[in-house]
């Protein structure tokens, strides 16, 4: 099922498209969380769109004519792509092939592409190796930002292991996990300072926890050297 959502519209603002699957649309959508957080820490405005489908790979998205139309006609400034959670590890050739195709289409349309490095399964932290190498290659080849969400998950779990960033299936993000991912996107792709006082956090989340998550996201981004610095 395809979900197309326009969460806010303001003139003279950046329009960002989120493309992914349930990792992206869970907990109300990363685009909604990113929008709320970004709007609370900057005077700039962000228009967020989403194009998601359960279990979708980048190959599925490339073959989706609706997404093609959106990229070509949606007046979009930025797009962030999330690959199916295992593909960069078990079949990086397909991730590269269709990630490259989507990034090149973006470039042709004047859209800044970026990639969302997903997180390893809860019971398989070593999976991060393949995820990080695969997504970093995408950023390097296309000279574009990578949101190192996988790194941030590993880092936060290392300092506060009682906080569960995962849903019960050990794969999808909990609300805290989605907030962390959105925080990483805000820092790495939108270059926002989310450590300022008064930054938005999901309802029900304590201020200290929200602060810890945002600080971890910021540190994770600072420790991750953006591969686009070596772009070809």
């Amino acid at each position: 099922m395809t979900v197309l959502l326009l969460s806010s519209v303001l003139a003279a603002s950046t329009t960002m498209l989120f493309v992914g699957n349930s990792y992206t649309f869970g907990n109300g959508g990363l685009w909604t969380i990113t929008d709320s957080l970004f709007g609370s820490v900057t005077v700039d405005t962000l228009i967020t769109l989403s194009h998601t489908m359960g279990g979708a790979t980048l190959q599925d998205h490339w073959n989706d004519q609706e997404l093609r139309w959106l990229l070509e006609n949606g007046d979009i400034d930025m797009a962030i792509f999330q690959e199916q959670s295992c593909m960069p590890v078990i079949n990086p050739r397909l991730t590269y092939q269709y990630g490259d195709s989507l990034a090149l289409l973006c470039a042709a349309e004047g859209i800044q592409p970026s990639f969302l490095m997903t997180w390893p399964r809860k019971n398989d932290p070593l999976m991060l190796h393949g995820l990080e190498e695969g997504y970093s290659r995408m950023g390097y080849v296309h000279g574009c930002p990578v949101a190192p969400c996988g790194r941030a998950f590993a880092m936060l779990q290392g300092v506060f292991f009682l906080l569960d960033l995962y849903a019960a299936d050990g794969s999808h993000p909990s609300m805290e996990g989605s907030y962390l991912a959105a925080s990483v996107i805000a820092v790495s792709v939108l270059e926002a300072d989310i450590t300022v006082p008064g930054a938005w956090r999901p309802s029900g989340m304590s201020e200290p926890l929200g602060e810890l998550i945002r600080e971890t996201a910021t540190i994770a981004c600072s420790l991750y050297t953006q591969p686009m610095e070596g772009g070809q």
């Binding site: 019971n123 398989d124 393949g130 420790l223 050297t225």
Partner: protein, 447 residues
């Protein structure tokens, strides 16, 4: 309750280290009674682990095990000055400690606020070398030297030498630190630092991202084991070995790729070659079965002798490998159930669990035998027993199933293949209806 389960009989086995929490077995060394293993056990993923030490007998049965009782992550295990020596990172104390197990009078040097960005150790004859980074974001190199009384003889930070340290060793008698430096946001080189001369060497074999893993000293020069992502395999990472000669010039390089990631995690010198372990995400994997342990042996000339993989229906990782006295290997690692369980895989000299590299599939006696296995110089000699006929077919088959050469010989005689390239072969001896198959390794053979 922690338990170890031995599945296979002597001398090869698979021992599982299972219990509550996440368990990764990070090192195994062989001793006179069997094996000593070190595992990290976490109550929850991400938690600071406790170190679990266990002893296995020669069949992989657990004979003793206990917790170290100090919250910290065991990073490496080695034998130094005849004692089991463990490098432990203690994040809560912001320190790194070198522990020796056994011996009543050992001291345990601690490095507070040092080596927190990563550390490696190397046991020399007289000194234990440590090298690493204080800062998690790489930065300056720190090198420490410990004597056999576990006294810190020197501990020096080199502020002008910036590299991500992964290993330390002695190359031609000099302390040598292996690491890498970033060339830009993605590409990385292979770097060597010699603290004695303050010399730093950078190797950029080709454009790409090099992640060194291990530095193995040789009588002259050294071999560096790396992971590499280059354009050669569509930017899908594989194994990269680089041999430096005595003057530290590149002698040879060799790469090994798969359809998906091939990731080295550790290597060891076998005396006649190099054994490498890690994991492969090669196809056909699935969302559940994402990785298998791999083992690969290379000759000192860089020839790939054989590769094997081991794994079940979930994820399996090889994290360390050590060569055993009989030429087999002990692989430490983990596999995923609900969480990781630790494992020790004791293989034969061909990386299999079949027993000493011999695979006998005959239906009738007598057995045939290989005159020398592994075979040297590209020559394989097969001794045929008496009484199996006067026209026995002997075939040399490569691992893809292709018959490389076929000959015939009489019982009591010898069949010889010469000029055989390095690799692993099956020799099939047939005097229908009986058939015998023997696995043979050729090292240093013809190219």
């Amino acid at each position: 309750m922690l338990q170890l389960l031995a599945i296979f009989a002597l001398p090869v086995f698979l021992s599982e280290v299972s219990g509550e929490g996440e368990i990764r077995t990070i090192g195994t060394i062989q001793n006179s009674n069997g094996y000593f293993t070190v595992s990290n056990i976490r109550d929850f993923p991400g938690a600071v682990p406790d170190t679990y030490l266990s002893y296995l007998d020669n069949s992989g049965e657990s004979t003793q095990g206990y917790y170290l009782g100090s919250q910290g992550e065991a990073m490496q295990l080695c034998s130094f000055s005849g004692k089991k020596t463990i490098l432990v990172r203690k994040p809560l104390q912001n320190s790194v400690v070198v522990l020796q197990v056994g011996g009543a009078e050992s001291r345990y040097p601690a490095f507070e606020d040092q080596f927190m960005g990563g550390v490696s150790m190397f046991p020399g004859m007289e000194h234990l070398l440590l090298a690493g980074n204080d800062d998690p974001s790489n930065g300056p190199v720190r090198v420490a030297v410990i004597n056999q009384d576990m006294e810190v003889l020197s501990n020096q930070l080199f502020p002008d030498v910036q590299m991500e340290v992964v290993s330390v060793s002695l190359v031609d008698g000099e302390t040598c630190v292996l690491g890498s430096t970033g060339l830009n946001g993605w590409e990385r080189d292979v770097a060597l630092f010699f603290p004695g001369s303050m010399e730093v060497l950078h190797f950029i074999p080709q454009s790409g991202r090099f992640s060194p893993v291990e530095l193995l000293p040789l009588d002259e020069g050294c071999i560096m084991v790396c992971n590499a992502i280059t354009g050669e395999n569509g930017q899908i990472g594989g194994l990269f070995l680089m041999k430096l000669d005595g003057s530290l010039s590149i002698d040879w390089t060799v790469t090994l790729y798969g359809e998906s990631w091939l990731s080295a995690s550790a290597a060891d010198a076998t005396g006649e070659g190099i054994i490498v372990t890690g994991w492969t995400n090669d196809l056909p994997m699935s969302e559940v079965n994402r990785s298998d342990i791999f083992l690969a042996e290379f000759s000192l000339d860089g020839d790939l002798l054989w590769t094997t993989t081991h794994g079940g229906g979930t994820v399996d990782y090889g994290l360390d490998v050590t060569t055993c006295t009989d030429g087999g290997f002990a692989v430490s690692g983990c596999f995923a159930d609900d969480l990781y369980n630790g494992l020790v895989l004791r293989t034969d000299s061909l990386g299999t669990l079949e027993g000493m590299g011999l695979e006998e599939q005959g239906t009738e006696q007598p057995l045939v035998s290989v005159l020398q296995n592994p075979s040297r110089c590209g020559t394989i000699g097969i001794l045929l027993p008496e009484g199996i006929g006067t026209d026995v077919s002997v075939s040399l088959i490569d691992m893809s199933g292709r018959i490389v050469e076929r000959t015939s010989a009489a019982g009591g005689g010898t069949a010889v293949f010469t000029g055989v390239p390095p690799g692993v072969y099956l020799v099939q001896v047939s005097n229908a209806p009986a058939m015998h198959t023997i696995k043979v390794t050729v090292t240093g053979g013809a190219l």
